[in-house]
Each structure stands twice: as structure tokens, then as C-alpha cells.
């Protein structure tokens, strides 16, 4: 069920509408039933996979609560990891690894025909696996108590607003909120609905419009020149941002209406002044997950400068693999790891010559945006060969006269939508929103709601595709 579909609108009205009329003690059950239905609407069979891994995690955590022996605790944690990562590996990475192995063996003159699995990727598996792992790890670390109510743990995993593409929640943040007795609050519900509207605008008006140009270029990479790839890549940078952050906005907004806060996922990432800053603003729930469950256990920044960089590099390598079973994603992770390493070296060995000024800040923002854009080539390209070709074209064959413009209207509508997005983000980033607009908010708010709704009807793309992050 896509968030930008009427199916979801109907589901939202049926689930959230009567939510506040449901007695407190039945609300968890109500949300659980709705969430299971939401997941099964896509493919009923894969709910069994979630039930299986959640049941194992439930019992593992309960045992961890009663076990003191470090060895036994480690074995229990390993059982949870094998269960969760095993399913993830089987469905997402098995064919990729087998294919890579056979390619390697072939190149060494050892023919090998691996057995491939004919399975589809259960939607949301990368997201709920990380949530399950975070739960058992927190219980293992004794930073969160084992959950005694199975329904509550299951609801933590399948809670519908964030089930398919995050934000990646933590047990300590989400589970206690299921017990909170929330009433209908005007301001909260209004804010939640406004977030949903903003998310729909970003998805329908910007992301799906830019996708038309991006797909036309990237799916026919052999026929285009550098200038076209630059435009398509900049468009893809905003397409993926609007697509993914739209999903997060709708998820957070939906949950806010119910009275449950989800973790923040984006903070105007393209205003970042460095790669490090970018990762503090982009997919925040994933970055903090890697920080807490990979970077810090590896030693974080406690074992010297070089170990810290090694740990950062490992995190980005794993992050690349998490995004997709393809070498382009692995290289995408490495690319970011390398640039973060360069940034750390720069900060350590090269003294700051220019004091911070607005001009410097904007130059840093532009530079960071350019570096991030170049990484999106790897993320979007259909193959490594395509990515190589695109980089070659960008750096050696940049010809504005050969810029591909099949239908100007897609570009104009997309750029117009981007103008609205960037203006809103600039106002927020600069603080003008808080200092100037907030006191005068009511008429502005109503005008904004009306304007966004009319723009969706007027220039939105109603035959657009799935959210990009659903594939992960």
C-alpha cells in the first residue's frame, strides 16, 4: 500500500479516524491489527517471516533478562543475529554473493554454476531487521529491559507508519509510547496532517516529476552526453531526497496524528557544509543506528585518529551494502567513506585559513552538494559499466548544446516544485521561519495548505511510481 495512494487514504481514515474512540486498553490491539493488515495487503505470506523472527527475538530477550553468564548471553545474542541477518542475507544478498563468487571463480578459470534462489525481497526487511537487532542488542547491553508483552514487541516491529521504509525506530523510543494515553489534540493532529500534505507535495509534485527525466536519461545511458548526465544527476539528488523524505514525512505525520512520535529522519541535508554534516542530516535514523551498533562497538573515536577513520570507513562500507545487493551500492558507501576520511585529514592537518563567513558557508554547501551529487551516479546507475560511462561523459564530454530536453514541461514543473521546496527549507534553515513567520502563522498556514493542494492537482504526477526506498 503506497502512502501516495487512495488505498492508503482509505486505510488512514478507517484506522486513525476511530482511533481516539477506541478504549485505551484496546488501542495497542487496534494498531497491531491495522499494522498486520497493512503489511499483508502487499504480500500476506511474508508476515510469517516477521512473526518468526519476532518470536525468536522475544524469547532471546526474555532469556537475556534472566541470564548472567557472559558466554550464554553472547550465544543468545548470536541466535538473534543469525535469525535476523540470516533472513536478510537469504532474501537480499544470497544471489548477489553467489553471482559475485561465480564471476570471481570464472575469471580464475574455475567454472562454477551456483544455485540461485527465485525469491522476491520482502518489503521493508532491511528496516525491520535493523529494528529487531537494535532491540536485542539493547537488552543484551542492559540499556533496555526485555519486553514481557509479546504484542507490544510485535507492534514495535510492525507499526505501520514506519514498517516499510523507516524511520528506523528504537525500542526505548517507541515502545513506551504505546502505553501513553493520548487524547485528540488539535495542534498535534493539525501538525501531523500538515506533514502528510507536505510529504505528498514532495512525492507527487517534485520526486515523481523529476523521475521522468532521470529515468529517461539513466535508463538509456549510452545515448547521452555529460551535460545531460549532470542535469539528470542533480535532478536525481532532489528526486531521491524528496521521495525518501516524503515517505518519512507521511510516516511521521501519520504517527503524530495517532499521538506517537517517530524519530526524525532528515534535516535539510543539501544545506550541509561537509560530508560529515550531510550524514548528520540525511537518513538520520540509519546514521545513528550505525553509530550505536557498529561504530561505537568497533571502538568509535576512543582508540586514536587512524582507528577512528578505519571505523568510519567500515560503517560506510556496511551502509553501502545495506542499501542494496549490488557493487554500485558498495562503491557508493566506499565513496562516502573516502570523502569523510579526506575531510577528517583536512581538519586535522590543514589549519583553517579563512574565518567562517556566509560566503565561505555557501561555498562549502555548494562543494558538499557537488560531492554528494557525484555519489548519486553510483546509486542510480543501472550497472557499474553505466556508472563508469556516466563519469567519463561528465568529465570529458560536457556539451551544453547536446543537452537532452525531450519535453520542457517536465523540467519546468520539476524546477518550480524545487523552488517551493528550497524556499521553505531556506526559511527554516535561516531561522526566518521561527522569527518572522511563526507569529504570523495562521493565514500563512492556510494559504500554504490551499496552495500545496492546488499545486498537487495542477502539476502533480498521478501515475508516478513506488517510493525508491521500498526496494531496500
Amino acid at each position: 500500500m503506497r502512502f501516495n495512494s487512495f488505498d492508503y487514504l482509505l486505510f488512514f481514515l478507517v484506522v486513525v479516524g476511530p482511533f481516539f474512540a477506541v478504549p485505551y486498553r484496546f488501542r495497542k490491539t487496534w494498531l497491531l491489527a491495522a499494522s498486520v493488515f497493512f503489511y499483508m495487503y502487499w504480500s500476506p505470506i511474508f508476515i510469517l517471516l516477521i512473526l518468526y523472527s519476532t518470536t525468536i527475538d522475544y524469547f532471546v530477550a526474555r532469556r537475556l533478562g534472566h541470564t548472567e553468564s557472559p558466554g550464554a548471553r553472547r550465544r543468545l545474542l548470536a541466535l538473534s543475529y543469525v535469525t535476523n541477518f540470516g533472513a536478510l542475507f537469504l532474501f537480499k544478498y544470497y544471489n548477489f554473493f553467489m553471482d559475485s563468487w561465480s564471476g570471481l571463480l570464472h575469471s580464475a578459470g574455475l567454472p562454477f554454476q551456483p544455485p540461485f534462489l527465485r525469491v522476491i525481497l520482502p518489503v521493508g526487511i532491511s528496516f525491520y531487521t535493523f529494528e529487531a537487532i537494535s532491540y536485542t542488542t539493547d537488552v543484551y547491553r542492559r540499556s533496555y529491559p526485555p519486553e514481557h508483552d509479546y504484542r507490544r514487541l510485535l507492534l514495535f516491529i510492525v507499526y505501520f507508519p514506519k514498517l516499510i521504509a523507516g524511520p528506523i525506530e528504537r525500542a526505548w523510543h517507541l515502545i513506551p509510547q504505546f502505553e501513553r494515553k493520548t487524547n485528540f489534540e488539535y495542534a498535534r493532529v493539525r501538525e501531523g496532517l500538515a506533514k502528510i500534505l507536505w510529504g505528498l507535495f514532495k512525492k507527487i509534485v517534485i520526486a515523481d516529476r523529476l523521475a521522468i527525466y532521470v529515468n529517461a536519461v539513466y535508463n538509456n545511458a549510452g545515448h547521452h552526453v555529460g551535460s545531460t548526465f549532470v542535469l539528470a544527476t542533480v535532478f536525481f539528488a532532489f528526486q531521491i531526497y524528496c521521495d525518501f523524505s516524503a515517505y518519512s514525512d507521511i510516516a511521521i505525520g501519520t504517527s503524530q496524528v495517532i499521538g506517537i512520535d517517530l524519530l526524525r529522519n532528515f534535516r535539510r541535508p543539501y544545506f550541509a557544509t561537509s560530508i560529515g554534516d550531510f550524514w548528520r542530516r540525511w537518513h538520520i535514523s540509519l546514521s545513528t543506528w550505525f553509530r550505536d551498533y557498529v561504530y561505537i562497538p568497533l571502538g568509535g573515536n576512543r582508540q586514536g585518529f587512524w582507528n577512528m577513520n578505519q571505523n568510519i570507513f567500515t560503517v560506510f562500507l556496511v551502509s553501502g551494502i545495506w542499501h542494496g545487493a549490488s557493487w554500485t551500492f558498495v562503491l557508493w558507501g566506499i565513496y562516502h567513506g573516502v570523502f569523510l576520511l579526506v575531510q577528517n585529514l583536512w581538519n586535522r592537518f590543514i589549519p583553517t585559513l579563512v574565518p567562517p563567513r556566509p560566503v565561505k558557508r555557501w561555498l562549502q554547501t555548494a562543494g558538499t552538494f557537488a560531492i554528494v551529487c557525484l555519489s548519486w551516479v553510483l546509486f542510480r546507475a543501472n550497472s557499474l559499466a553505466d556508472a563508469g560511462h556516466i563519469y567519463r561523459e561528465i568529465f570529458t564530454h560536457f556539451s551544453l548544446s547536446q543537452l537532452y530536453v525531450p519535453n520542457m514541461k517536465h523540467i519546468v514543473y520539476g524546477v518550480f516544485g524545487l523552488g517551493v521546496l528550497l524556499s521553505a527549507e531556506f526559511l527554516t534553515e535561516s531561522g526566518a521561519y521561527v522569527h518572522f513567520w511563526l507569529p504570523r502563522l495562521k493565514p500563512v498556514r492556510w494559504a500554504a495548505y490551499t496552495g500545496l493542494a492546488v499545486l498537487i492537482a495542477l502539476i502533480g504526477v498521478f501515475d508516478g511510481g513506488q517510493f525508491i526506498y521500498f526496494q531496500f
Binding site: 495512494s5 487512495f6 481516539f20 485528540f184 488539535y186 493532529v189 493539525r190 535508463n219 538509456n220 545515448h223 520542457m408 514541461k409 519546468v412 514543473y413 492556510w446 495548505y449 490551499t450 493542494a453 492546488v454 492537482a457 495542477l458 502539476i459 502533480g460 504526477v461 498521478f462 501515475d463
Partner: protein
């Protein structure tokens, strides 16, 4: 809760008002715009009352020089070709609109091998959105886009979705100049550097297999033919030329020609094939803009050949 309900009600009223204002403005723009493809094409075609109608995809739009057809056949012609609209659903909507206002004599249906296979691109049916209130055929095909289309149509603005720029462009002195729907293409294909459109299939075996029939397309193809023929319109299916650059493409072309002639024989429709295999004058690359589209020189040559064939069929184009 009460405050929320009141606010929501006020917002709905404001939204409804804004939607009506924008929608009405767009409607006025639509009816008066000179934009051929995104403008009020169907009403313009109806006003022209041409005895000959050409319908189909961009291949129809770019290949059938209606001026030349008019001259050679001595009867008015209008080109309802539209980029990406290569399917019976579009034909049905277009035929339904035209037939409700007048009965043409000849309906030329530009076809390709996908006329009865490969699901039609439903997003292209959005060209009928501005007509849904008045034209039952338009409403019927628009309804096929999504089961939630009636909800979307509660918005008047939605009927003109993505049209604002194309409707404004001619007023700003920009836009493509058409002549009764025909657009001439410039440029010529360089042999050996063929931009495939659609993308070439990477599996050569699959290229030669007959794709499965699309039941929806077949149903609407039958409905279109029957609606036209029952009103006395002569329907002619035409496959205009496309560039053949390999023995495999020629083999595929032969198979498609057999399939289409069998299909239209079954439907009781005359079928004309202008494949370079049957008409070698359409072989040279210089006649093509890309492998699927003739340029202006190719379009002139093709229209002439088509007019000759139609002339030989002795269709009564005048009352």
C-alpha cells in the same frame, strides 16, 4: 475535536473554492489555447468536420501530412495522432468523441505490432480528462486509469493536470506549430547509429516471439471498429514505414505484418502495410528521423503512397 472539525470544514470550503477558481481559469485557457497537442484538439477536429480522420500515436502525428491528403483525396482531413497513444483505448475515446458530433467517412487507424499486445499506457489517456463531463466515451476510458479516478475528478483543476505550461506557451509565442494535428519532423537518421525507440530487446529470441494478447486492448479494438462501422465509417488500419536495420529486424517485421493482416482480416478491416520489405522505396535511412519516425521527406513520400492506395480503394469521401 470540535475545533478541528470546524477548521477542517472551513479548509474544505476554501480548497473547493480555490479548486473551482483555478479549474475554471484552466478551462478558459484550454478552450482558447492554440496548443495543438495539449489544447482543445478534439473540439477543433469536430469544428473542422473532416471526412478523413487519422488517429494513433506519434507515428500518426508525424507521418500523415493532412494537407497533402486533402489535396490528393479531395476531402478534408484531420490528424488526431498523439505521442505515446498507440492503442485501442485512445482510438476508442477519440472515435467516441468524434462520432457523438458528426460521422466522418474514413477513419485511418495507424497501427503497430502492439495494437493488441502490451498493456496500453494508461497515463496517456489523461488527454481525455478535460472532456469527461461532456463525452461519455472519454469518461469511460478515463475510468480505466484507476478505480479511484472518480475521486480525483472531484477536483476541477485535476482535469487540466500538467497542462498549464503547454497551454500558456503559444500565448508567449512558443510551442510547436501544427497543421490540423500534423507535426513535421526534421533531421535524418545516420545508418549504423540508430537510436532505437523503443529500446531494442536484448534477447534476440524474445524479439521473434509473438507477445501475449492483451484482452483489454482486444476488447476496445473490437468496440472501436464496431462503433465506427455501425455508423458507416470506413476503417482502414495502416502500418506506416519504420526503419529496418538488421536481418533480425526484417524477420520480426515479416512476422508482425502476418500477424496484423490476420488480425484485421478477422475484424473485417482493410489493412495497408507500408513496411520497407513490401515497399522498398521506404528503405533509405535519409527518410527517417529515428528508427520509428519518418522525417518530413519520408512523411511526404508516405502520404503520397497512402493517398494512392486509398484512391484505389474507391472510398466515397463525399456525401
Amino acid at each position: 475535536m470540535r475545533r478541528f472539525a470546524v477548521s477542517l470544514a472551513i479548509l474544505v470550503v476554501i480548497l473547493w473554492g480555490a479548486d473551482r477558481v483555478v479549474g475554471t481559469g484552466m478551462d478558459a485557457l484550454f478552450r482558447t489555447s492554440q496548443s495543438e497537442e495539449d489544447g482543445d484538439t478534439f473540439r477543433r477536429a469536430i469544428a473542422y468536420r473532416a471526412p478523413i480522420i487519422v488517429c494513433g500515436s506519434s507515428r500518426a502525428q508525424d507521418h500523415y501530412e493532412v494537407d497533402s491528403l486533402e489535396t490528393w483525396l479531395g476531402a478534408g482531413a484531420y490528424n488526431l495522432g498523439r505521442g505515446g497513444s498507440s492503442g485501442p483505448l485512445y482510438e476508442y475515446g477519440a472515435a467516441g468523441i468524434v462520432l457523438r458530433h458528426y460521422v466522418p467517412r474514413l477513419w485511418i487507424m495507424e497501427v503497430d505490432s502492439e495494437i493488441d499486445t502490451t498493456p496500453e499506457k494508461l497515463d496517456r489517456l489523461s488527454c481525455f480528462l478535460p472532456y469527461v463531463d461532456e463525452e461519455p466515451a472519454a469518461a469511460e476510458v478515463v475510468g480505466l486509469r484507476s478505480r479511484y479516478e472518480p475521486i480525483r475528478l472531484l477536483s476541477k483543476t485535476y482535469r487540466y493536470n500538467s497542462l498549464v505550461l503547454s497551454l500558456l506557451a503559444p500565448r508567449l509565442g512558443k510551442g510547436v506549430h501544427h497543421r490540423n494535428g500534423f507535426i513535421a519532423l526534421s533531421g535524418a537518421l545516420v545508418p549504423g547509429v540508430v537510436a532505437q525507440e523503443p529500446a531494442a530487446d536484448s534477447n534476440p529470441g524474445a524479439m521473434l516471439e509473438q507477445p501475449a494478447e492483451d484482452s483489454l486492448k482486444m476488447r476496445y479494438l473490437r468496440k472501436t471498429v464496431s462503433a465506427l462501422q455501425s455508423r458507416g465509417v470506413v476503417v482502414v488500419a495502416v502500418r506506416s514505414p519504420h526503419y529496418l536495420d538488421s536481418p533480425q529486424a526484417m524477420k520480426k517485421d515479416r512476422r508482425e505484418e502476418e500477424h496484423l493482416s490476420h488480425l484485421f482480416r478477422g475484424l473485417g478491416v482493410s489493412y495497408l502495410d507500408f513496411s520497407p520489405l513490401k515497399q522498398p522505396e521506404f528503405g533509405p535511412a535519409r527518410l527517417y528521423r529515428d528508427s520509428w519516425h519518418l522525417n518530413v521527406e519520408g512523411a511526404t513520400l508516405f502520404t503520397h503512397a497512402l493517398a494512392d492506395s486509398l484512391d484505389n480503394m474507391r472510398i466515397a469521401l463525399r456525401p
